[in-house]
Symmetry: C2
Subunit: 285 residues, 2 copies
């Protein structure tokens, strides 16, 4: 039987995708995009608008936004001064095997594991900030020993601290409840490595393409085709920075007819080419 | 398969026996005694002598002492001003199933799991102090949620931070290497709930009582009979505070011929009666 500490050392190697302090300049816009990873934004200075599934939320200093899996979101800097925040992306899979009674007890887990969760907004305590700062520090240390296990330990700490704070104070939680939109998103995510047509998604959902289009747009504020592209671009972003796959390999894996077309779609949603994105990520601009 | 977070919530319920800030007044003496739990003393103010297996170590402000399982130790306040420290006892069993490659990587684990380890003395960083303070806070909170899982998380954090600090800086580690003394201690610990005679221990070690006595005293600085009594008193202390067993039940479980005799032996090693000890522990004097 594997020990807890053994799991912390060896398993879930990629539990945390990234964690770092970021500064956004006035006028900056990014997205819409979506990903499987849960995203945490802890605003330490200034403010930023985050649009999640069509709703605009202003995240202010001292507030923390958690964006759950596969939610379409974008960032918009309307403020005249820069915003500084701690940003982190972590794998929800690490929590998917959790026992039902634990999920019931540990509030934040019930949000992570519920596919209806869209986002969570709450003020953060000094202690929670300290925890997320330690995650960032360990994730970016180049010289110290045991960074990965410590970062994982702090993710568990964050889950418990967040659960405690959620049940104590004010919060806003938004949940997608339309079963057709959820089913369509699920189908798209499950067929990422194929060419997906609107008609395929509609057939899988047992409705007409016209009905699906109309409901999907109402709920998410974007079209099904946009969602398909955004989801593919999201995968591409991960592969560009996290693997050695070439641009041609990624385009082919995601069912694009050519590298050129993949590059065009990528730029439409991110404003940069795949190559520029890879360079930016390496420098963390 | 159980999840990591499930283990943190449910398992190893008694991983931490206690963790609290303590103040010792000038002239205070305690022990000798020993226990299975690993003891951590983090000196935040003043200094204190700790005698471990016959060796006197002065632990100064900013230093941390870890006393491993079954090591006989006592506290002596020679200084004229009070000493403040964070004290913790945790179960080494929580780490006994750890995979060999993890033990190799995580230095502090190799000390916990090696029965030859006696003590470890090292200066502590602010970060390690912060970690131990969080353990104390969670262990003594009466109102917050998720205290026990958080305290366990911080023990894992401490193991990794300590491992990192051990491999970076100065430290002193003392190890018992005499196989006869180790075997005798093991036999005594395994037969705690029986009446143990020197001759039984010698027979189990395949040596004469005279030879065992002489080697044991050389190595540990106390006699075999003292060790047997100290180990029993240590068990009694745990049962007095951690269970509802009566004094008569404890005396009988430990193989004492009468409650009166048990009480006399207890007082010889601790300077208080079992009843007084129970009261003291409840008030944490």
């Amino acid at each position: 039987m594997e020990s807890t500490i053994g799991r912390l050392v060896h398993r879930e190697q990629d539990m945390i995708y990234n964690a770092l302090p970021r500064t956004l300049q006035p006028g900056y816009n990014f997205g819409p995009h979506c990903h499987k990873n849960v995203e945490v934004c802890m605003m330490t200075e200034g403010e930023c608008d985050i649009v999640v599934d069509g709703e605009t939320i202003t995240v202010r200093t001292g507030e923390m936004m958690v964006i759950f899996s596969h939610m379409i979101h974008s960032f918009h800097m309307r403020s005249r001064r820069p915003a500084r925040f701690l940003q982190m992306h972590f794998q929800p899979d690490s929590f998917s095997g959790v026992e039902a009674d634990v999920v019931r007890d540990v509030k934040f887990l019930s949000y992570i594991t519920d596919e209806h969760s869209a986002y969570l907004l709450l003020p953060f305590s000094d202690r929670l900030r300290d925890c997320v700062e330690r995650i960032c520090m360990e994730m970016n240390s180049k010289t110290e020993e045991h960074c990965k296990p410590l970062a994982k330990i702090y993710i568990y700490e964050m889950v418990f601290l967040l659960s405690r704070e959620i049940s104590q104070g004010y919060r806003r939680i938004f949940v997608i409840e339309n079963p057709l939109a959820i089913k369509a998103i699920q189908y798209i995510n499950d067929h990422m490595e194929e060419k997906i047509m609107l008609s395929d998604v509609a057939a899988a959902c047992h409705v007409t393409a016209r009905h699906l289009s109309s409901v999907f747009k109402d709920i998410t504020n974007i079209t099904v085709n946009d969602y398909i592209n955004i989801a593919k671009v999201d995968n591409a972003m991960r592969w560009l920075t996290g693997t050695d796959l070439t641009m041609a390999e990624i385009a082919s894996k995601l069912g694009f007819s050519s590298t050129q077309y993949f590059s065009t779609v990528f730029k439409r949603y991110t404003r940069v080419t795949p190559g520029e994105y890879k360079d930016m990520s390496e420098k963390d601009i």
